[in-house]
Structure formats: C-alpha cells, structure tokens
C-alpha cells in the first residue's frame, strides 16, 4: 500500500512547483512580464545568481560551506571589467589563478581537516581586499563580447531561460549521470566508503573546489556583462543567496544530496521572490522578512514531504 504520490517525486518537483506558483503570481500581478521583453528583464539578473548557486552547490555537495562566494564573484567581476577588457590574456590568466586558489583551498581544507566555514570566511575578506586593489573606485568596462552575449536577444526564447537550461543540463549530466560525478557526490555521502573503494578524497575535493571557482568566475563575468561595469562590493549578497538557492532547490547541507536542476530553479525562485514582493508594493522594511517567509514556507513544505518519505 504505497502512498498515492511518491514522496521522492514530490520532493523533486517541489522546487519547480514553487517557481511555477511564483511565476503565475507575478504574471497575474504584472501582465507586462508575460512578454519576451518582460521575461528577459525579470530573469536576466538571475543568471549570475544561478552560476553562484551552482558554485555553492559544488561545495555543499562535499559537506562544506562557502562563505566567500559573494566576495569571490565581486573580485572576478572586477577582473572582468578591468584586465579582461584591457588585456584579455592577463584577464584570463588572473581568472585562472583565482580558480587555482580555489582548488588550493579545497586541498588545504582536506589535508589540514579545517572547517570550511572558517577558511572561506577568512578568504571572503581576502577576495574583497584584492577586488578593491583591482578596482579601487567603482568603474571599469565590460568586454564587448561579454556585453553582447548577456544582452543577446535570440528569437522566441529569452536568453536568461536558454542560459539557465544550458547550465542546468550541463551540470546535471556531469554531476548526476557521469560515473565520476557519482564518486564526487559520494564524497559528501560517505567519504570513507569512497576512499576504501580506492578513490582519492583529496582529488575529489580539489576538483569540486576548482569547479566552484570556475562557476564563480563565470558568475562574475555574467554579472559584469549585465551591469557594464563593476564595484568591489557588487555581489556580496550572493553568499547567502547561493546557500538559500541550493537548499531551496532540494539540496541538503550534508550527505552529498544536491540537485543541479533544483539549484538553478532555487536561484531563479529567489530572484523572482524579490520581484514579486516589489510588484506587491510591499513596504521595504517588510521585504527582507517577507523574503524569509517565502523561504520558510518552501522549506516547511519540504520537511512535510521528508516526513512522508521517512514513514515509508
């Protein structure tokens, strides 16, 4: 006698369901958003958040937490708006160096068995400091090709939707379907078992941190492509948004239980929640609280589903 609906399926569908409800509410409040132009404006700032959330997801997947992703995205945005524009070779080298440092952090955290929260919290100030050195006053200019990509208006489907789908599919295939992806997730699930099976935990952590660094660098570039110029503080909120996005998208803090598609949807839900509240013309003093309330409602629904799952 199974339940009528499989709780596992329900759990996987919850993020998509929340997104659909929110989108419907926005369409109802503000019919202008239902157009190509409207969707583009509504969702384009979600692309960097989606990428930052994917970066956070890689870290959460190995049971760590990254408190530096916001300032890291700010730094890569500053690099993209300065060196990548003036001297593309230097810019690419600098971004590659950032990714290497991220990979190194993964190694450091694993070898010295340090709490990732402490290391990344410390690094957040390092990233911010370097960002201020790269770009002391707000400014810089987005490379032409980056601006072109981010403002690209393909026919029929707005670019933010295409970008989100591509990101979700690529990461999903790599992490959920590929054999090595299963090993990487296993590090978060049962590290000892993975190690006994002969896989290097160090290598897995380094790869996950490097992937996070790459996704974070893309987030910074996407952000600059949208804003046209950078600011050392431009993406500081992304740290908490990305964590919320992963959890909202069905991920768990421990156990290697993450979902790339869910993370993308979670990030978009968070972006839309802010728009929804602004369309409601809610007093700004209440908006942060209301945003929190939306999060709590979704997570409460998940707890209910988890209970149902546990009962089976």
């Amino acid at each position: 006698m199974g339940a009528v609906v499989n709780p596992r399926l329900l759990r996987a569908l919850l993020p998509a369901f929340s997104l659909a409800v929110l989108l419907a509410a926005i369409f109802w409040l503000q019919p202008r958003t239902m157009t190509y132009f409207g969707l583009n404006l509504l969702l384009n700032l979600a692309i960097p958040i989606v990428l930052a959330t994917i970066a956070q997801m890689f870290i959460i997947c190995v049971n760590d937490l990254d408190l530096s992703i916001g300032s890291y995205v700010s730094l890569t945005a500053c690099i993209a708006a300065t060196w990548l524009n003036d001297e593309p070779v230097v810019g690419v080298a600098a971004l590659a160096l950032c990714v290497l440092v991220y990979a190194g952090l993964g190694a450091l955290i694993h070898i010295r068995q340090l709490p990732s929260i402490v290391v990344t919290l410390g690094m957040s100030f390092v990233w911010l400091g370097v960002a201020i050195l790269v770009l002391p006053t707000p400014g810089g200019e987005a490379p032409e090709w980056l601006r072109g990509l981010m403002t690209w208006k393909p026919e029929f489907v707005p670019f933010p939707i295409i970008a989100s789908v591509v990101i979700a599919v690529v990461v999903h295939v790599g992490l959920m379907w590929s054999p090595y992806g299963a090993v990487l997730r296993g590090v978060g699930g049962n590290a000892r078992a993975v190690e006994r099976a002969g896989w290097s935990l160090l290598k897995a952590k380094v790869i996950m941190y490097a992937l996070a660094g790459i996704a974070g660098a893309f987030a910074g570039m996407a952000l600059v492509g949208l804003t046209t110029s950078a600011d050392a503080n431009i993406a500081l909120r992304y740290t908490l948004l990305s964590i919320a996005g992963v959890i909202l998208g069905g991920g768990e803090f421990v156990g290697g239980r993450v979902s790339p598609v869910g993370a993308v949807i979670g990030a978009m839900t968070l972006t839309l929640a802010a728009s929804f509240l602004s369309f409601l013309q809610l007093n700004p003093d209440w908006q942060i609280g209301a945003q929190g309330a939306i999060l709590i409602i979704v997570l409460a629904l998940r707890v209910l589903i988890n209970r149902a799952e546990g009962r089976r």
Partner: protein, 341 residues
C-alpha cells in the same frame, strides 16, 4: 469693490505670467514616476523620503502626474537595486528618479530603462550612463564658497583648521580640493592643520582636541558638515577664542550657533545639501516628460543659512535632523534654465 477687482486682476496677471512658460508643455497627467532609492538608514535619507512624499502627494492629487511611488531596496546593494530598476521598467513607469548605490554598477539596468523608453533622472548618488540625467552636487564649489565667505568676514586673513570627512570618499576629496584651491586664491589664509572628522560630531571633537595643542592661533575652521558642533566643543574646552566655524546645517550645529548668537553675537554661516533635492529631481523628471529640453547635467543649488535666516531655519529643522527645503516646479525650471547656459 474696485480693490477686489484690482487684486483679482493682479492675481490673474500673475497666473498668466506663471502659466506662460508652461504653455508649450505637454500634459503629464497620465505619466507615472517612481523613486528608486538604495538606502533609508540615516536622518538625511529619511528626510529625503519624507520630502518626496510631501511634494509628490499634492502633485498626484492635482493631476500633475498619475503616480509618484517611492521604492527603497531592503539592502543597500547594487545587484538588488539593478533588479529593482528592472522591475520598475516592467511596472510601466514612465520615469525613474534614482539615488544610486553605485555610480557605475547600475549602468546596465539604467541602459535597459532608457532602451525601454523610460526617463532616468539620477540625483545625489548619480550614475554615469550617458542616457540618464544627472542632478549632481558641486562639492568643489561648496568648499570654495566657505573660504570666499571667510575672506569677506576676515579680510586680514589668518590661520585655518580644516576638518575633512571620511578618508577615501569622493565627496571628501572634492570639498577639500575646493577649500585648498580657494586658499591658493586668497593667500591671506593658511591651512595650518587638517584632521578627519568623518562627518560625525564625536569623531570631529576628538580629532580637533587632539591637534589643537600643537596649533597657533586659529581664526576659522573650514568643515564639511556634521562636524561643526564637535569642533566647537573642542575649542570651548580650551582657553582659546572661539574661531568662525563653518556649519553644515545639522540641528545640533544650528542650535549651538543660535545660542552663541544670542549670547555674544557670534557670526558664521552654514551650508549643505538639502535632502529635499529628491523633490527637485521629481520636478525635473516631470519637465522631461512634459517634453521640455533639459540638459543632461544639472547642478543642485546649496542650502545656505546665514546670520539673518538662522532662527527661521532652525525652527524648521527637526531635532537630530538636517535643515531641509522642498523644491517647486519653478525652482526646477530655474535650475534647468541655469543648466542650459
């Protein structure tokens, strides 16, 4: 009877005179204007929002515009304000009046607005995107004017103490540059000391108290606002004669000045930017919507308080607040006319 007719006639003539320049204006009664504000956490910003409401509510009631809603982002963050601007475009506003979190970081969103045919008027925190209008503060001139005033008051010159703002902030550099350039033009003055008061009375008081023992006689203190009262306290604690301290329109500064004026005829002046500049931006946006030719770069007039209008200004300033003025359509037209030259 004839007198009433005369009064009515004069009123009518005045009405025609006022109405004349607006004859060519298009109707804006169906236009909607939004205020996008990045921060509301200090008394200046609170006064700015209050002024906005006080001026736009009658304007909406009179049918000048259809709506003038204020939006403040919950967190003072660039990405959040960029999203807010994009939402305002989607909500179909015809103009966005903007106090920006970053001069550069919002350019992408501002460009989106311009491309969608939305008028963007930035003020105070201005944006560099060329398609937007800017109502900027000439901080350089503010610093320069302080020394010009002192040159009138103290023709023989003397030693000056400079209190600066927060190090590394553009506003501080500009005001200080104005002061130093003016001192170069009025060589009877010498700046003998310079401290950072961070635009806060307590910081300024400590900084001034710390440097005073090492300084010769001071005839005047040039300031940046928010630091005059602290400087006065530091001087009062010594046996030095009270110099002319330029004030910055804060309530505590004006109160102290009024007390001194009553007690011993103390003279100075006070200058700052009125938070009501948001209402100037509102009228400028309305004028652009009305089809007027408005230059992209406009300059905010300072709010200056002198010896004779001190009591009146103080009475209109809330305790803990800053002296304010709300602008009218005519003020905006004057600023626009000045910008055209």
């Amino acid at each position: 009877m004839t007198k009433t007719a005369l009064v009515a006639g004069t009123a009518l003539a005045a009405l025609v005179m006022f109405a004349a320049p607006s004859m060519a204006q298009e109707d804006t009664s169906d236009k909607r204007i939004a205020l996008s504000n990045n921060y509301a956490g200090n008394s200046w910003r609170q006064a700015m929002l209050t002024s906005w409401a006080r001026v736009t509510e009658p304007a909406v009631a009179d049918g000048v515009v259809a709506a003038a809603d204020a939006f403040t982002t919950a967190e003072n963050q660039v990405t959040e304000q960029a999203a807010q601007i994009q939402n305002l475009i989607l909500q179909g506003y015809d103009a966005i009046v903007l106090n920006a979190a970053s001069p550069e970081g919002l350019n992408g969103a501002v460009k989106e607005a311009c491309d969608a045919g939305v008028i963007v008027v930035s003020f105070d925190g201005i944006v560099t995107e060329p398609c937007a209008w800017r109502i900027a503060v000439d901080f350089y001139q503010m610093g320069y004017d302080e020394v010009v005033y002192l040159a009138e008051k103290l023709p023989e010159g003397g030693n000056l103490l400079e209190i600066r703002g927060l190090a590394g902030v553009f506003v501080d550099d500009e005001i200080s540059r104005g002061i130093h350039d003016a001192v170069a033009d009025y060589p009877q003055f010498t700046i003998v000391g310079s401290v950072h008061g961070d635009w806060a009375q307590d910081v300024a008081q400590q900084a001034v108290a710390g440097i005073l023992p090492s300084l010769p006689d001071i005839v005047a203190v040039v300031t940046q606002g928010g630091d005059g009262y602290g400087a006065a306290q530091a001087f009062a604690a010594t046996d030095r004669e009270m110099p002319i301290i330029i004030m910055g329109n804060r309530h505590d500064e004006l109160t102290w000045w009024a007390e001194q004026k009553a007690a011993n005829g103390y003279e100075t002046m006070s200058v700052s930017i009125a938070p009501g500049v948001s209402t100037l931006a509102f009228w400028v946006a309305q004028q652009i919507l009305a089809g007027q030719d408005v230059p992209k770069d406009l300059v905010v007039p300072f709010l200056r308080i002198d010896q004779d209008n001190l009591e009146e200004s103080l009475a209109n300033t809330e305790p803990g607040g800053v002296a304010n003025v709300e602008y009218t359509l005519e003020d905006a037209q004057a600023v626009i006319a000045a910008g055209r030259q």
